[in-house]
Protein backbone atom coordinates (compact mmCIF):
# COMPACT_ATOMS: atom_id res chain seq x y z
CA UNK A 1 0.00 0.00 0.00
CA UNK A 2 2.26 2.72 -1.33
CA UNK A 3 0.71 6.03 -2.39
CA UNK A 4 1.38 7.67 -5.72
CA UNK A 5 4.33 10.04 -5.76
CA UNK A 6 4.08 13.73 -4.91
CA UNK A 7 6.20 16.77 -4.24
CA UNK A 8 6.30 17.66 -0.57
CA UNK A 9 5.98 21.23 0.69
CA UNK A 10 6.29 22.51 4.25
CA UNK A 11 5.48 26.25 4.13
CA UNK A 12 6.10 28.39 7.21
CA UNK A 13 3.12 30.72 6.95
CA UNK A 14 -0.45 30.80 5.63
CA UNK A 15 0.35 33.12 2.72
CA UNK A 16 3.02 30.75 1.40
CA UNK A 17 0.69 27.78 1.73
CA UNK A 18 -2.03 29.58 -0.24
CA UNK A 19 0.58 30.54 -2.84
CA UNK A 20 1.43 26.86 -3.36
CA UNK A 21 -2.26 25.98 -3.66
CA UNK A 22 -2.74 28.75 -6.24
CA UNK A 23 0.30 27.70 -8.21
CA UNK A 24 -0.70 24.06 -8.50
CA UNK A 25 -4.51 24.27 -8.44
CA UNK A 26 -6.22 20.87 -8.44
CA UNK A 27 -2.85 19.15 -8.22
CA UNK A 28 -2.24 20.37 -4.65
CA UNK A 29 -3.81 19.43 -1.33
CA UNK A 30 -3.09 20.38 2.25
CA UNK A 31 -2.30 17.78 4.88
CA UNK A 32 -2.80 18.28 8.63
CA UNK A 33 -2.51 15.14 10.78
CA UNK A 34 -3.02 13.00 7.70
CA UNK A 35 -4.94 10.19 9.37
CA UNK A 36 -7.89 10.59 7.00
CA UNK A 37 -5.89 11.61 3.94
CA UNK A 38 -2.97 9.16 4.05
CA UNK A 39 -5.20 6.04 4.17
CA UNK A 40 -7.03 7.41 1.10
CA UNK A 41 -3.69 8.04 -0.62
CA UNK A 42 -2.54 4.51 0.19
CA UNK A 43 -5.70 3.16 -1.42
CA UNK A 44 -5.01 5.48 -4.39
CA UNK A 45 -8.43 7.00 -3.87
CA UNK A 46 -6.64 10.32 -3.37
CA UNK A 47 -3.75 11.34 -5.59
CA UNK A 48 -2.09 14.72 -5.87
CA UNK A 49 1.09 16.06 -7.37
CA UNK A 50 1.77 18.38 -4.46
CA UNK A 51 1.22 17.81 -0.76
CA UNK A 52 1.25 20.94 1.39
CA UNK A 53 2.08 20.08 5.01
CA UNK A 54 0.67 22.68 7.43
CA UNK A 55 2.65 21.56 10.49
CA UNK A 56 5.20 24.40 10.45
CA UNK A 57 2.64 27.23 10.36
CA UNK A 58 2.48 28.77 13.84
CA UNK A 59 -0.59 30.86 12.92
CA UNK A 60 -2.58 27.61 12.78
CA UNK A 61 -1.69 26.56 16.30
CA UNK A 62 -2.80 27.35 19.82
CA UNK A 63 -5.88 27.31 22.03
CA UNK A 64 -7.10 30.67 23.35
CA UNK A 65 -9.72 30.70 26.07
CA UNK A 66 -11.37 34.10 26.48
CA UNK A 67 -14.32 34.99 28.68
CA UNK A 68 -16.75 35.07 25.74
CA UNK A 69 -14.98 33.14 23.01
CA UNK A 70 -12.67 30.16 22.63
CA UNK A 71 -10.53 30.01 19.52
CA UNK A 72 -8.80 26.89 18.31
CA UNK A 73 -6.05 26.89 15.72
CA UNK A 74 -6.83 24.46 12.91
CA UNK A 75 -3.69 22.42 13.68
CA UNK A 76 -4.61 21.86 17.35
CA UNK A 77 -4.67 18.09 17.86
CA UNK A 78 -7.35 16.06 19.58
CA UNK A 79 -4.74 15.24 22.22
CA UNK A 80 -4.20 18.95 22.86
CA UNK A 81 -7.96 19.50 23.13
CA UNK A 82 -8.16 16.73 25.73
CA UNK A 83 -5.20 17.85 27.85
CA UNK A 84 -6.01 21.59 27.95
CA UNK A 85 -7.56 22.25 31.37
CA UNK A 86 -8.66 25.81 30.58
CA UNK A 87 -10.59 24.55 27.57
CA UNK A 88 -12.20 21.76 29.58
CA UNK A 89 -13.35 24.32 32.17
CA UNK A 90 -14.78 26.68 29.54
CA UNK A 91 -16.43 24.11 27.21
CA UNK A 92 -16.31 20.61 28.76
CA UNK A 93 -18.20 19.21 25.75
CA UNK A 94 -15.08 19.39 23.59
CA UNK A 95 -12.97 17.12 25.78
CA UNK A 96 -15.89 14.74 26.26
CA UNK A 97 -16.26 14.37 22.49
CA UNK A 98 -12.54 14.33 21.64
CA UNK A 99 -11.99 11.38 23.99
CA UNK A 100 -14.43 9.38 21.86
CA UNK A 101 -12.57 9.96 18.60
CA UNK A 102 -10.45 7.12 17.22
CA UNK A 103 -7.64 5.92 19.53
CA UNK A 104 -4.71 7.49 21.39
CA UNK A 105 -2.26 7.29 18.49
CA UNK A 106 -4.69 8.97 16.13
CA UNK A 107 -5.58 11.64 18.69
CA UNK A 108 -1.92 12.68 19.04
CA UNK A 109 -1.80 13.73 15.39
CA UNK A 110 -5.42 14.15 14.28
CA UNK A 111 -6.34 17.84 14.20
CA UNK A 112 -9.56 19.69 14.90
CA UNK A 113 -9.16 21.60 11.64
CA UNK A 114 -8.79 18.43 9.62
CA UNK A 115 -11.73 16.86 11.39
CA UNK A 116 -14.09 19.76 10.58
CA UNK A 117 -12.73 20.61 7.12
CA UNK A 118 -12.66 17.12 5.63
CA UNK A 119 -16.44 16.95 5.40
CA UNK A 120 -16.57 13.27 6.36
CA UNK A 121 -20.05 12.63 7.80
CA UNK A 122 -18.45 10.18 10.25
CA UNK A 123 -16.28 12.80 11.91
CA UNK A 124 -17.44 13.91 15.35
CA UNK A 125 -16.29 17.54 15.42
CA UNK A 126 -18.61 18.93 12.69
CA UNK A 127 -21.80 18.07 14.60
CA UNK A 128 -20.19 19.24 17.82
CA UNK A 129 -19.26 22.57 16.25
CA UNK A 130 -22.80 23.00 14.94
CA UNK A 131 -24.17 22.35 18.41
CA UNK A 132 -21.76 24.95 19.82
CA UNK A 133 -22.57 27.40 16.98
CA UNK A 134 -18.89 27.71 16.06
CA UNK A 135 -17.52 29.81 13.20
CA UNK A 136 -14.77 28.67 10.84
CA UNK A 137 -12.19 31.19 9.59
CA UNK A 138 -10.96 30.62 6.03
CA UNK A 139 -8.01 32.25 4.29
CA UNK A 140 -7.61 32.22 0.54
CA UNK A 141 -6.22 34.19 -2.39
CA UNK A 142 -9.02 36.75 -2.02
CA UNK A 143 -8.49 37.30 1.68
CA UNK A 144 -10.21 36.05 4.82
CA UNK A 145 -13.83 35.15 5.50
CA UNK A 146 -15.82 33.35 8.16
CA UNK A 147 -18.49 30.71 7.71
CA UNK A 148 -20.82 29.44 10.45
CA UNK A 149 -20.42 25.71 11.14
CA UNK A 150 -24.18 25.41 10.60
CA UNK A 151 -23.73 26.76 7.04
CA UNK A 152 -20.47 24.99 6.18
CA UNK A 153 -21.50 21.48 5.17
CA UNK A 154 -23.07 20.88 1.74
CA UNK A 155 -22.75 17.12 1.16
CA UNK A 156 -20.34 14.33 2.06
CA UNK A 157 -16.83 15.77 1.55
CA UNK A 158 -18.29 18.96 0.05
CA UNK A 159 -18.09 22.11 2.17
CA UNK A 160 -18.21 25.88 1.74
CA UNK A 161 -14.39 25.93 1.63
CA UNK A 162 -12.98 26.70 -1.82
CA UNK A 163 -10.09 24.59 -3.16
CA UNK A 164 -7.54 27.34 -2.66
CA UNK A 165 -8.73 28.22 0.84
CA UNK A 166 -7.33 26.95 4.12
CA UNK A 167 -9.42 26.62 7.26
CA UNK A 168 -7.29 28.50 9.79
CA UNK A 169 -9.17 28.92 13.07
CA UNK A 170 -12.37 27.94 14.82
CA UNK A 171 -14.18 30.42 17.08
CA UNK A 172 -16.66 29.12 19.61
CA UNK A 173 -18.89 31.22 21.86
CA UNK A 174 -18.46 30.12 25.49
CA UNK A 175 -21.82 28.74 26.68
CA UNK A 176 -23.26 30.74 29.57
CA UNK A 177 -23.02 29.52 33.16
CA UNK A 178 -25.77 27.03 33.89
CA UNK A 179 -25.78 25.51 30.41
CA UNK A 180 -25.36 21.73 30.63
CA UNK A 181 -23.51 19.90 27.85
CA UNK A 182 -23.18 16.26 26.84
CA UNK A 183 -21.87 14.14 23.97
CA UNK A 184 -23.16 10.61 23.51
CA UNK A 185 -21.77 8.28 20.87
CA UNK A 186 -22.74 4.73 19.98
CA UNK A 187 -20.05 2.83 18.10
CA UNK A 188 -19.46 -0.78 17.18
CA UNK A 189 -16.07 -0.84 18.88
CA UNK A 190 -13.71 1.63 20.48
CA UNK A 191 -12.16 3.88 17.85
CA UNK A 192 -14.99 3.46 15.38
CA UNK A 193 -17.03 6.18 13.73
CA UNK A 194 -20.45 6.72 15.26
CA UNK A 195 -23.44 4.56 14.48
CA UNK A 196 -25.15 7.62 15.94
CA UNK A 197 -23.86 10.44 18.11
CA UNK A 198 -25.58 13.39 19.76
CA UNK A 199 -24.23 16.73 20.98
CA UNK A 200 -26.55 18.60 23.33
CA UNK A 201 -26.45 21.93 25.17
CA UNK A 202 -29.37 22.94 27.38
CA UNK A 203 -30.02 25.48 30.12
CA UNK A 204 -31.12 29.06 30.84
CA UNK A 205 -34.07 28.63 28.49
CA UNK A 206 -31.82 27.81 25.55
CA UNK A 207 -30.90 24.56 23.82
CA UNK A 208 -28.90 23.31 20.84
CA UNK A 209 -28.95 19.79 19.45
CA UNK A 210 -26.85 18.24 16.66
CA UNK A 211 -26.22 14.69 15.50
CA UNK A 212 -23.43 12.88 13.67
CA UNK A 213 -23.25 10.23 10.94
CA UNK A 214 -26.98 10.09 10.33
CA UNK A 215 -26.99 11.98 7.01
CA UNK A 216 -24.35 13.04 4.48
CA UNK A 217 -23.74 16.14 6.62
CA UNK A 218 -24.01 16.73 10.35
CA UNK A 219 -27.56 17.57 11.36
CA UNK A 220 -28.32 20.58 13.57
CA UNK A 221 -32.05 20.98 13.95
CA UNK A 222 -33.58 24.33 14.79
CA UNK A 223 -36.96 22.84 15.64
CA UNK A 224 -35.44 20.10 17.81
CA UNK A 225 -33.37 22.73 19.60
CA UNK A 226 -36.42 24.97 20.11
CA UNK A 227 -38.46 22.09 21.51
CA UNK A 228 -35.75 21.22 24.01
CA UNK A 229 -35.40 24.88 25.01
CA UNK A 230 -39.10 24.69 25.93
CA UNK A 231 -38.45 21.53 27.97
CA UNK A 232 -40.22 19.27 25.44
CA UNK A 233 -37.87 16.26 25.25
CA UNK A 234 -40.26 14.10 23.22
CA UNK A 235 -40.80 16.93 20.77
CA UNK A 236 -37.05 17.44 20.46
CA UNK A 237 -36.42 13.77 19.71
CA UNK A 238 -39.31 13.60 17.23
CA UNK A 239 -38.06 16.69 15.38
CA UNK A 240 -34.52 15.33 15.21
CA UNK A 241 -35.62 11.88 14.00
CA UNK A 242 -37.52 13.71 11.30
CA UNK A 243 -34.44 15.72 10.32
CA UNK A 244 -31.91 12.87 10.01
CA UNK A 245 -31.58 10.79 6.84
CA UNK A 246 -29.56 7.69 7.71
CA UNK A 247 -28.78 5.10 5.04
CA UNK A 248 -28.24 1.38 5.54
CA UNK A 249 -24.59 0.30 5.68
CA UNK A 250 -22.37 -1.99 7.73
CA UNK A 251 -23.40 -0.10 10.87
CA UNK A 252 -26.97 -1.28 10.42
CA UNK A 253 -30.26 -0.77 8.62
CA UNK A 254 -32.15 2.52 8.66
CA UNK A 255 -34.62 1.41 11.36
CA UNK A 256 -31.77 0.47 13.69
CA UNK A 257 -29.93 3.73 13.12
CA UNK A 258 -33.07 5.74 13.86
CA UNK A 259 -33.57 3.73 17.02
CA UNK A 260 -29.98 4.28 18.14
CA UNK A 261 -30.22 7.97 17.23
CA UNK A 262 -33.21 8.34 19.54
CA UNK A 263 -31.46 6.51 22.38
CA UNK A 264 -28.26 8.57 22.03
CA UNK A 265 -30.19 11.82 21.90
CA UNK A 266 -32.26 10.99 24.98
CA UNK A 267 -29.16 9.98 26.92
CA UNK A 268 -27.32 13.15 25.92
CA UNK A 269 -30.33 15.31 26.85
CA UNK A 270 -30.64 13.56 30.19
CA UNK A 271 -26.99 14.10 31.06
CA UNK A 272 -26.93 17.68 29.79
CA UNK A 273 -30.03 18.52 31.85
CA UNK A 274 -28.45 16.98 34.95
CA UNK A 275 -25.37 19.13 34.40
CA UNK A 276 -27.36 22.33 33.80
CA UNK A 277 -27.34 24.78 36.70
Amino acid sequence: MIPAGFEYHRPGDIASAIGILQEHGDEARVIAGGHSLIPMMKLRMAEMGHLVDLQAIDELKGIEVGSDTVTLGAMVTQHELITHDGLAAAIPLIREAALQIADPQVRYVGTVGGNVANGDPGNDMPGLMQCLNATFDLSGPDGNRSVAAREFYEAAYFTAREDEEILTRISIPVPGAGVGQAYEKQKRKIGDYATAAAAVMVGNGTASVAMTNLADTPVWSESASAALADGDVNGCVAAMLDAIEPVADNRGPVEFKKHVAGVMLRRAIDRAQNRAG
Partner: protein, 164 residues
Protein backbone atom coordinates in the same frame (compact mmCIF):
# COMPACT_ATOMS: atom_id res chain seq x y z
CA UNK B 1 9.79 11.82 -8.15
CA UNK B 2 13.02 13.17 -6.79
CA UNK B 3 14.26 11.91 -3.47
CA UNK B 4 14.59 14.15 -0.47
CA UNK B 5 17.27 14.23 2.17
CA UNK B 6 15.92 12.85 5.44
CA UNK B 7 17.55 13.38 8.81
CA UNK B 8 16.16 11.74 11.94
CA UNK B 9 17.24 10.84 15.43
CA UNK B 10 16.30 7.21 16.00
CA UNK B 11 16.89 5.64 19.40
CA UNK B 12 19.37 8.38 20.25
CA UNK B 13 21.40 8.07 17.05
CA UNK B 14 21.37 10.56 14.22
CA UNK B 15 20.60 8.89 10.93
CA UNK B 16 20.35 10.20 7.40
CA UNK B 17 19.08 8.88 4.14
CA UNK B 18 17.42 9.64 0.84
CA UNK B 19 13.74 8.88 0.40
CA UNK B 20 10.87 9.74 -1.87
CA UNK B 21 8.41 11.97 0.02
CA UNK B 22 5.74 9.27 -0.36
CA UNK B 23 7.84 6.79 1.62
CA UNK B 24 5.99 5.75 4.74
CA UNK B 25 7.96 5.99 7.97
CA UNK B 26 7.49 2.27 8.69
CA UNK B 27 9.12 1.39 5.37
CA UNK B 28 11.99 3.83 5.93
CA UNK B 29 12.65 2.39 9.39
CA UNK B 30 12.48 -1.24 8.32
CA UNK B 31 13.94 -1.19 4.82
CA UNK B 32 16.41 1.70 4.84
CA UNK B 33 17.49 1.76 8.47
CA UNK B 34 16.96 -1.99 9.08
CA UNK B 35 15.16 -1.20 12.32
CA UNK B 36 12.66 -4.05 12.20
CA UNK B 37 11.12 -3.78 15.67
CA UNK B 38 8.10 -1.81 14.47
CA UNK B 39 5.91 -4.24 12.53
CA UNK B 40 3.60 -3.86 9.57
CA UNK B 41 0.33 -5.40 10.70
CA UNK B 42 -2.87 -4.13 9.13
CA UNK B 43 -1.19 -1.25 7.30
CA UNK B 44 -4.48 0.65 7.62
CA UNK B 45 -3.85 2.51 10.91
CA UNK B 46 -6.01 0.19 12.98
CA UNK B 47 -3.75 -2.37 14.64
CA UNK B 48 -0.93 -0.30 16.17
CA UNK B 49 1.85 -2.86 15.52
CA UNK B 50 3.82 -0.11 13.75
CA UNK B 51 3.58 2.33 16.70
CA UNK B 52 6.71 4.36 17.36
CA UNK B 53 7.32 7.33 19.63
CA UNK B 54 7.80 10.58 17.70
CA UNK B 55 8.77 13.68 19.70
CA UNK B 56 6.93 12.35 22.74
CA UNK B 57 3.83 11.08 20.97
CA UNK B 58 2.73 7.56 20.10
CA UNK B 59 2.24 7.49 16.35
CA UNK B 60 1.36 4.82 13.80
CA UNK B 61 4.33 4.82 11.45
CA UNK B 62 2.32 3.17 8.65
CA UNK B 63 0.22 6.34 8.44
CA UNK B 64 3.07 8.83 8.51
CA UNK B 65 5.21 9.98 5.60
CA UNK B 66 8.88 10.15 6.40
CA UNK B 67 8.75 13.67 4.93
CA UNK B 68 6.38 14.75 7.72
CA UNK B 69 8.80 13.70 10.47
CA UNK B 70 12.00 14.98 8.90
CA UNK B 71 14.07 16.26 11.84
CA UNK B 72 12.08 14.36 14.48
CA UNK B 73 13.29 12.34 17.47
CA UNK B 74 12.00 8.78 17.18
CA UNK B 75 12.06 5.88 19.62
CA UNK B 76 11.24 2.32 18.63
CA UNK B 77 11.02 -0.80 20.80
CA UNK B 78 14.76 -1.29 20.25
CA UNK B 79 15.35 1.99 22.07
CA UNK B 80 13.56 0.83 25.20
CA UNK B 81 16.20 -1.63 26.37
CA UNK B 82 18.49 -0.79 29.26
CA UNK B 83 21.83 0.87 28.46
CA UNK B 84 23.61 -2.51 28.74
CA UNK B 85 21.27 -4.04 26.16
CA UNK B 86 19.24 -6.07 28.66
CA UNK B 87 15.45 -5.92 28.59
CA UNK B 88 13.93 -2.67 29.82
CA UNK B 89 11.24 -2.70 32.51
CA UNK B 90 8.27 -2.91 30.12
CA UNK B 91 9.98 -5.55 28.02
CA UNK B 92 10.85 -7.60 31.10
CA UNK B 93 7.32 -7.31 32.51
CA UNK B 94 5.74 -8.39 29.21
CA UNK B 95 7.97 -11.48 29.39
CA UNK B 96 7.30 -12.09 33.07
CA UNK B 97 3.51 -11.72 32.83
CA UNK B 98 3.13 -13.47 29.47
CA UNK B 99 1.95 -10.28 27.82
CA UNK B 100 2.49 -11.92 24.44
CA UNK B 101 2.09 -15.17 22.60
CA UNK B 102 3.07 -14.77 18.96
CA UNK B 103 4.74 -11.43 19.71
CA UNK B 104 3.72 -9.67 16.54
CA UNK B 105 1.88 -6.82 18.29
CA UNK B 106 4.42 -6.56 21.12
CA UNK B 107 6.75 -3.85 19.74
CA UNK B 108 3.79 -1.55 19.22
CA UNK B 109 2.28 -2.49 22.59
CA UNK B 110 5.47 -1.76 24.47
CA UNK B 111 6.24 1.47 22.63
CA UNK B 112 2.70 2.73 23.26
CA UNK B 113 2.77 1.60 26.91
CA UNK B 114 6.05 3.49 27.35
CA UNK B 115 4.39 6.79 26.41
CA UNK B 116 1.26 5.97 28.44
CA UNK B 117 3.38 5.50 31.58
CA UNK B 118 5.35 8.67 30.86
CA UNK B 119 2.08 10.60 30.85
CA UNK B 120 0.34 8.68 33.61
CA UNK B 121 2.75 6.87 35.98
CA UNK B 122 -0.09 5.42 38.09
CA UNK B 123 -2.79 4.29 35.66
CA UNK B 124 -5.85 2.36 36.78
CA UNK B 125 -6.77 -0.79 34.87
CA UNK B 126 -9.43 1.20 33.02
CA UNK B 127 -6.91 3.90 32.10
CA UNK B 128 -4.51 1.27 30.79
CA UNK B 129 -7.21 -0.32 28.65
CA UNK B 130 -8.36 3.07 27.32
CA UNK B 131 -4.77 4.20 26.74
CA UNK B 132 -3.94 1.01 24.84
CA UNK B 133 -7.06 1.13 22.66
CA UNK B 134 -5.01 1.82 19.52
CA UNK B 135 -3.16 -1.50 19.75
CA UNK B 136 -4.74 -4.82 18.81
CA UNK B 137 -3.62 -8.24 20.04
CA UNK B 138 -5.22 -11.42 18.70
CA UNK B 139 -3.51 -13.85 21.09
CA UNK B 140 -3.66 -12.78 24.70
CA UNK B 141 -7.14 -11.41 25.23
CA UNK B 142 -5.29 -8.38 26.66
CA UNK B 143 -5.48 -9.48 30.31
CA UNK B 144 -1.77 -10.22 30.60
CA UNK B 145 -0.84 -7.11 28.65
CA UNK B 146 -2.75 -5.03 31.19
CA UNK B 147 -1.01 -6.92 34.02
CA UNK B 148 2.41 -6.35 32.43
CA UNK B 149 1.83 -2.62 32.09
CA UNK B 150 0.48 -2.33 35.60
CA UNK B 151 3.49 -4.22 36.97
CA UNK B 152 5.80 -1.99 34.93
CA UNK B 153 4.22 1.10 36.47
CA UNK B 154 4.83 -0.29 39.97
CA UNK B 155 8.43 -1.20 39.15
CA UNK B 156 9.22 2.12 37.47
CA UNK B 157 7.75 4.01 40.43
CA UNK B 158 9.77 1.91 42.87
CA UNK B 159 12.93 2.58 40.87
CA UNK B 160 12.17 6.30 40.87
CA UNK B 161 11.64 6.31 44.62
CA UNK B 162 14.84 4.37 45.24
CA UNK B 163 16.74 6.90 43.13
CA UNK B 164 15.45 9.85 45.16
Amino acid sequence: MSKMHVKLTVNGKEVEGLAEPRTLLIHFLREDLKITGPHIGCETSHCGACTVDIDGKSVKSCTTFVAQVNGADITTVEGLTNDDGSLGVLQEMFREHHGLQCGFCTPGMITRAHRLLQENPNPTEEEIRFGMAGNLCRCTGYQNIVKAISASADMLNAQKEAAE
